[in-house]
Amino acid sequence: MFHFQRLLLLSLSFFLLSCGLDGFNQGIYKVKYQKGDHGDWAAKSYDDSLWTERYPYSDPPEESSIWWLRQNFNFNERIHFDQPTGVAVIAIASFDLYIDGILVGSNGKPGSSIDKEIVGKYSSLFLIPDSLLTHDEHTIAIRFSHHQLPDFYRFHGIYFGDFKDMAKIGLFETSMIHILAGFFLIVGIYYLLIYFIDRRKLSTLLFASLCLSFFSLIIFEYIKFYYLYDYPYHLTRLIIIKYLTFLIALLLPSYYLVRFNMSFNKMLIIIYIATLIFISTSDLSFDTASVALFTVAACTTLVISILTVYHKKVGSTLALIGIICIFPSILFDYDLMLFTGFTAIIFFLLISLTIQAKIDRIEKEAATNRSVILENALLKKNIQPYFLMNSLTSLMDWVEEDPKSSVQFIDTLANESRLLLTVADQTTIPLQQEIELCKAHLKNMSFRKNSRFDLSLTGLKLEGQIPPAILHTCVENGLSHQIFAKGDHTFILHIESRENKIVFKLTSPGNVKDKFERKPDGTGFKYIKSRLEESYSGEWALNAYQENEHWITEIEIPARHFNIEVQ
């Protein structure tokens, strides 16, 4: 652990320097500690050989009281004495800072107890007096206490450099990064609004949360550059960052799972979450834990993403590219590239979402078109030559020969037309209404054929909805493709259940015309099939066949759409 932390510290300092944090030209990390408080401990000449030398991030000084740390140093060649030179201290402490015994500045005020201490900032910067800017060896001494955060001590380092540069350290990167922050914020709010106002899809909520988490992470990571907070809040900040990282580690793979409708093994989920918790609660430093969490999350998401591509999910390739973009940041320059990696993920996911939205829209339009076409087909039944022109021709004869009955005929015609108009724009209608429609048609044909056509229901008594005019079309077919001797004819609609389907069996009581005419009416069946597909998507069946001399039509519909009335 110790060596790893030292390695981490070194690499972090490299990052600081290589990330363009050029202000810190020289750093002191190893210092000597002594508990207690004596005025002459500031003096250059004081012998501190018995003091304990420590690296930062090692075990905190036990017992909170006043402590001193000291170190000897020479300014290196990167310090230019003709420029205002500053000394920065990043540590969890309130302190007085001495160079060569001279008090250069104070960060808060150290005290022997919590009441006596005035809390200082986590990061502070002081101007070094010109008189101290020489190439001789100097001694830096810090008198400090940290009663507000007794169990958590961090000493990041003492830094020298150009005062102006140090004052604006990290501000440029921070402002650039906040462009990305704005991006995440806006995208996150937008999709959150979509979730609450438009449609509550879980994947939308996850995506919005992911964006807003990225946003929050940027804010808390970079806040240290523009808001110098009191040192106790450093722990708070680190804990918040840890929670956010944990949250992101949860959200990222979850989003990929939910968005692409992947089935998942509950056991794997539990193992994953357990891993995350284990990492979070372990002894790892905050930064190591973060890297570990992100790595685990990224790898898991990568695996899920590859699976989605394998299963040919729409938009999965773009999402895969997105997650691949995060890996360079984990492997190389962590901090800055992490956020550009996040941007890549969101960017590719956005493209993927837009494509998805377009596909959804086209499908919706197609469905509306189909709906309109079917509605038209139904309405056209009313004016189809076979129906309308023949009815009118028949009516002519009624009017001439039997005016009183012709009025009845007109009423029956109007009734069937009225019913068709009522049901035309519905996707499904009550079964009762459909039966009414069939009976109306049979009544019409009774007038036309000078016979009596009737419909009798046998079998199960059902309640439920079916697509409009499908039974009506079967009755129409039966009448047009068969010969009926003059007299009474009863159409039989038999309802039974077969496995998990309801079967509607319509028997036409006429005699099937010779095979010349036996081919089922193309348009009629096409209409029935379209309606069935619209409502039951592949879970239906339509059969027509001859049994003895009669024409049978059978329609199968999933049983779950109906209630069977118990006798």
Partner: protein
């Protein structure tokens, strides 16, 4: 006069029958009604008719096949149908008339006029004549006919390619169906004017038509003047 009505709705059939009796009150007619095409075909095997009224559902494909078969027979065919948009196509096959449902008595009268009046040429053009040889239907493009020679109850169709086909309708019946380019030039001949090369005059005021393929037919004296006027036009 024998008439066959093929109509599956009894009321409509009875109405047509009623009207026909009124319209054709000047002669003795016998009307038979069948409600289905196959039964009608069987009736036709054993009976001869002069005029057929056929209710046809032209929405399917069978309709036109049936028409082609029927117009090859010796009787004239009138189609009655609810599907009026198919009328033009029906006329191309040589039906005498196409009546759209619903229809008034006057419309039926007009169709009967066409039957009775051998001079009234159809406004619509017949494009094909169908002939039946050994139960095989053949469609003959009317433009390929050079002339038609009457042969009793039948007609000989003399074609461009030299072939001669026999049609069950006599000359008068065919004449009403054919487009304007076909003229009666002789008691026994109808000529396709478009195929005429020249008119030849012979000694004794005998006239003949020579066609582009060098075939010749005579021109009847009473037909000559009218024909000349037509040719000058």
């Amino acid at each position: 006069m024998n008439i066959l009505i093929v109509e599956d709705e009894e009321r409509i059939a009875r109405r047509t029958e009623r009207y026909l009796i009124e319209i054709l009150s000047d002669r003795k007619i016998h009307i038979h009604i069948e409600e289905e095409i196959n039964k009608a075909m069987r009736f036709l095997e054993n009976n001869t008719i002069d005029l057929l009224f056929l209710d046809l559902n032209l929405h399917g494909e069978n309709g036109f096949q049936i028409i082609q078969s029927l117009v090859s027979e010796s009787f004239q065919t009138i189609i009655i149908s609810a599907y009026s948009e198919k009328a033009i196509e029906a006329f191309e096959y040589g039906v005498l008339d196409f009546i759209a449902k619903p229809f008034l008595k006057e419309r039926l009268e007009k169709a009967i006029d066409r039957y009775k009046n051998t001079e009234l040429k159809s406004e619509n053009s017949t494009r094909y004549l169908s002939i039946k040889s050994n139960s095989i239907l053949e469609l003959i493009e009317v433009n390929k006919i050079i002339f038609i020679k009457g042969a009793g109850h039948y007609s000989e169709l003399h074609l461009e390619n030299g072939k001669v086909e026999l049609h069950s309708k006599n000359l008068e019946k065919l004449y009403i169906l054919l487009p304007d380019q076909f003229k009666r030039v002789h008691k026994s001949y109808i000529a396709n004017i478009k195929m005429v090369d020249r008119i030849r005059t012979e000694v004794g005021s005998k006239y003949s038509i020579q066609f582009k393929n060098t075939e010749e037919i005579p021109i009847g004296r009473s037909y000559y003047k009218g024909l000349k006027k037509e040719l000058i036009k």
